[in-house]
């Protein structure tokens, strides 16, 4: 309905959800905070059922939050891509292959390209590789106008195969001793908090600032919301999309290093299946698959919610395979709740 409001009669109801119109901006902000109550509820529940363990620093910060850090970075990456109106399934493969290649060049049994390379090269090599994957995805999607879904799906499979070839089905382990960077990434602390958590906090803060308060950030929403209008307004749509894929590749590579650091190894299957959790967290956090909608704060809440559910279920000694089923259910419930609270059809 495009009717302008002819406001007569009784005052507007107190609930902003009561109708379209003036309540929307407030509602959008409410949507951001929608996950706070369930997060608090899970914290309380975890504390009440396991008062000696749940909220202790050694469990909650050093285990739950720290283990969530790599996932959070990939969700950040995926959120950017979703906001700009595209898809990136290949991020989970980047989480595996970027550290695999970087580590392989340092400790692998190879002499190709002058290997072994010095240990410090791990970080730049992983990041450059992640960025290159983004460049390649962008090339196919922006230049050749291929569907992001299919391109990144093919990329996911290709990179996964490449990783198996390099790592050879085995696991490169005991990395902490050989590569100081990974040791630091896993064990360094600032103000008593693991460095991984700091990195996530800093990058999310930066992301929120960039998306909310810079020209480039706002153009992500414009491109995701209506690329034709963005183009007519002078936004270089292709460049913005391409850049977003590169940024996502970088973030996923960093997440991969973080994960390898925490495990002290690079397994052939590192990152496998992660993309489902990533999408779950992003969508629960209010990022629209249609593009142009959602906030990074919401996405971070989505990560926290998933992490807390997992923590609670683990402490309740639910077997790992059943946690998977619960994940699925949580996503469905979250979608239904989002539909009911915003009153908007999902597609």
């Amino acid at each position: 309905m495009t009717e302008t409001s002819t406001t007569t009669g009784p005052e507007a109801p107190a609930l902003p959800a009561a109708g379209p119109g003036r309540g929307r901006p407030r509602l959008a902000r409410l949507r951001d905070l929608a996950l706070i109550p369930p997060i608090v509820a899970l914290l309380v529940y975890g504390y009440v059922t396991n008062p000696d363990v749940f909220l202790t620093k050694s469990y909650f910060v050093d285990s739950v939050l720290k283990n969530l850090a790599p996932l959070a970075l990939v969700v950040l990456a995926e959120a950017l891509v979703l906001i700009v109106g595209k898809f990136d399934l290949s991020l989970e493969s980047v989480v595996g292959i970027a550290p695999a290649i970087a580590v392989f060049m340092v400790v692998g049994k190879t002499s190709a390209l002058g290997a072994p390379w010095p240990a410090w090269t791990v970080l730049p090599v992983a990041l450059v590789f992640g960025a290159l994957v983004g460049v390649f995805n962008g090339l196919l999607i922006v230049r050749f106008k291929l569907s992001a879904f299919i391109v990144t799906l093919a990329m996911l499979i290709t990179l996964r195969g490449l990783q198996l070839t390099i790592v050879g089905g085995a696991t490169m382990s005991n990395l902490a001793k050989q590569i100081p960077l990974l040791d630091n990434l896993a064990n360094l602390r600032f103000a008593g908090v693991p460095v991984a958590i700091w990195i996530v906090a800093i990058l999310f803060t930066a992301g929120i600032l960039v998306l909310g308060y810079t020209r480039v950030g706002r153009s992500l929403y414009a491109v995701g919301g209506n690329p034709a209008a963005a183009r007519a307004a002078g936004i270089r749509v292709d460049r913005v999309i391409w850049m977003t894929f590169v940024a996502a590749g970088l973030l996923a590579a960093l997440a991969g290093l973080m994960l390898s650091a925490q495990l002290g190894s690079v397994a052939a299957s590192q990152g496998e299946g992660m993309i489902f959790q990533v999408f779950a967290a992003a969508v629960i956090g209010g990022i629209s698959l249609e593009g142009g909608k959602g906030s990074l704060f919401g996405a971070l809440c989505g990560v926290l919610l998933l992490g807390l559910i997992q923590a609670v279920l683990t402490l309740a000694q639910v077997p790992g395979e059943q946690i998977q089923a619960v994940y699925g259910l949580v996503i469905l419930v979250a979608l239904v709740l989002a539909r009911l609270t915003t009153g908007k059809a999902q597609d």
Partner: protein, 504 residues
């Protein structure tokens, strides 16, 4: 049809229909009575309640109060879609056909004729579709994918589908909005034929002359209420506009007092041998400071593509100079920087981002100037947006309201704000008043008039006479070339004949 009207009840009758959405009253007192066999115009500004009434009449919305009757009987329950579809149909501006299916399949969607073993029979489908189209004399090939139809053919196919369901009452929601003159004439011929065969129409249009061409009676809505119903012959166009606007007010006549632009005024925009591959052959054109140049022509004339090329959205050849400086081709940011403010022809396609706020849409062209080092300071953005909202009289709850919630006229003003935000030297406007109500038309054209009086020039691409009246000079394009030029004071009939390619 004449004699029957007296005895039979109205085909459709809405009595005191009211509908509100939260605090918004969409319809307060909706009354409409349509007699069998007439084509009944429904007019009103955007937001007058027309679309809500249509939704109630087609059974898509349950009214809060009032009643709808078909041929004297109460309307079926909302859940009984089949019953509604056999009574009434609405052809919307947006296509409601499946583009990849054939016309025949679209006509018999979900009720395809069956052949042997209960499987669908394509020959039977083709035969029935052909029969249906022929019986209503609709010249469309049933084998064609629906996506390949012209707008006018698509509308006729949708009407045929409704008729085959038994409905003899069809609502046409701005059917001519996307059509050019010749297509409108063809559509009207078909509508007249259908009316003679007993089909009743409600015809919604912003284009008032059409109502006099094709309708017998007219109903006016204003501010969610029924204002009047009268035979069109008894209502002059000025009276009709007055009823829509609510106060005595003539047709849109903005800019009648524009000062003359001398031929010695500085040129701001100079086109030399500009071509757009496939659309425009060779155009030389100069817009001077303080001048509005209208560009008229049929849809195939290339006028819209010329404007898009000037905005940098299409590749072009030839030379474009702005205040003497060359503008690079096919580069939107460069065109913006050079000083071209662009208003696209279809706001829903590339005019605005619906989910984003009024402020963000209006300042999208100047996002680089709203803070240091690529930052966008919300305070500064809102301040700029508030100024633009005030200048253009945008009716909005505030700079943070999403544009998707605004009416057509107000969202168009936001797009105009986006074009003006960069303080351009030249405005390139395509159909700036398409699909907006009379008052928004005045305020949009008023803005063009005001903004071009001092420094700017404007190129106004349109074939709405009301738009062209504002222009200091009108050029007519056909086949990718400029074929005529008229100073202010042109003869309407001559101009229309040239636009439509009718020899006089």
């Amino acid at each position: 049809m004449g004699q029957q009207e007296l005895v039979t009840a109205p085909v459709v009758e809405a009595i005191g229909v009211a509908k509100r959405f939260g605090p918004t009253v969409a319809l307060a007192d909706g009354n409409l009575s349509v007699s069998a066999g007439e084509t009944h115009a429904l007019v009103g500004r955007n937001g007058a309640g027309k679309s809500t009434l249509v939704a109630v009449l087609t059974g898509l919305l349950r009214p809060d109060a009032g009643e709808v009757r078909f041929a004297g009987r109460p309307a079926p329950p909302l859940a009984d879609r089949a019953a509604w579809r056999s009574l009434v149909a609405c052809v919307y501006q947006k296509p409601s056909v499946v583009a990849d299916l054939s016309v025949a399949e679209n006509l018999f969607l979900n009720r395809q004729p069956r052949g042997r073993f209960g499987l669908l029979s394509r020959p039977a489908l083709r035969r029935q579709a052909t029969e249906l189209l022929e019986s209503w004399a609709i010249p469309v090939n049933p084998e064609l994918p629906a996506g390949q139809l012209t707008v006018e053919q698509r509308q006729l196919v949708e009407i045929a589908g409704a008729l085959s369901l038994g409905a003899r009452f069809v609502i046409l929601d701005e059917p001519t909005a996307q059509l050019e003159g010749a297509a409108i004439a063809r559509l009207f011929d078909r509508l007249r034929d259908l009316r003679e065969q007993g089909v009743t129409f409600v015809f919604i249009s912003h284009h008032l002359p059409e109502i006099y061409q094709i309708c017998q009676r007219v109903t006016v809505f204003r501010d969610a209420r029924h204002v009047l119903t009268a035979p069109v012959g008894e209502l002059r166009e000025e009276e009709l506009v007055a009823a829509m606007v609510g106060e005595a007010r003539g047709l849109v006549r903005v800019g009648a007092d524009r000062p003359a632009v001398g031929s010695d005024a500085d040129p701001v925009l100079e086109l030399t041998g500009v071509g757009v591959p496939g659309f425009v052959e060779h155009v030389d054109l100069t817009v001077r400071r303080g001048e509005i140049v209208g560009v008229a022509g049929s849809a195939a004339s290339g006028k819209r593509q010329l404007a898009e090329a000037l905005a940098g959205l299409r590749p072009r050849t030839g030379e474009v100079r702005l205040a003497g400086r060359r503008v690079p081709a096919a580069n939107v940011p460069a065109a913006l920087r050079a000083g071209i403010g662009y208003l696209p022809g279809d706001r829903n396609v590339d005019g605005f981002v619906p989910g984003l706020s009024v402020a963000e849409n209006a300042t999208m062209t100047i996002a680089g100037n709203l803070g240091p080092a690529g930052t966008v300071l919300p305070g500064r953005r809102d301040a700029v947006a508030r100024r633009l909202i005030a200048d253009l009289e945008v009716h909005t709850a505030g700079p943070h309201q999403p544009v998707s919630e605004l009416s057509g006229g107000n969202s168009q003003k936001v797009v105009m704000a986006r074009a003006l935000a960069s303080d351009p030297r030249v405005l390139v406007l395509v159909a700036p008043t398409a699909g907006v109500d009379v008052r928004s038309k005045e305020s949009l054209l008023g803005a063009v008039d005001r903004e071009t009086r001092a420094q700017r020039g404007a190129l106004l691409v349109s074939d709405e006479l009301a738009d062209l009246c504002v222009c200091d000079r009108v050029v007519v394009m056909a086949g990718g070339r400029v074929i005529a030029e008229h100073p202010r004071g042109w003869d309407e009939a001559d101009l229309v004949a040239e636009i439509e390619g009718i020899g006089r």
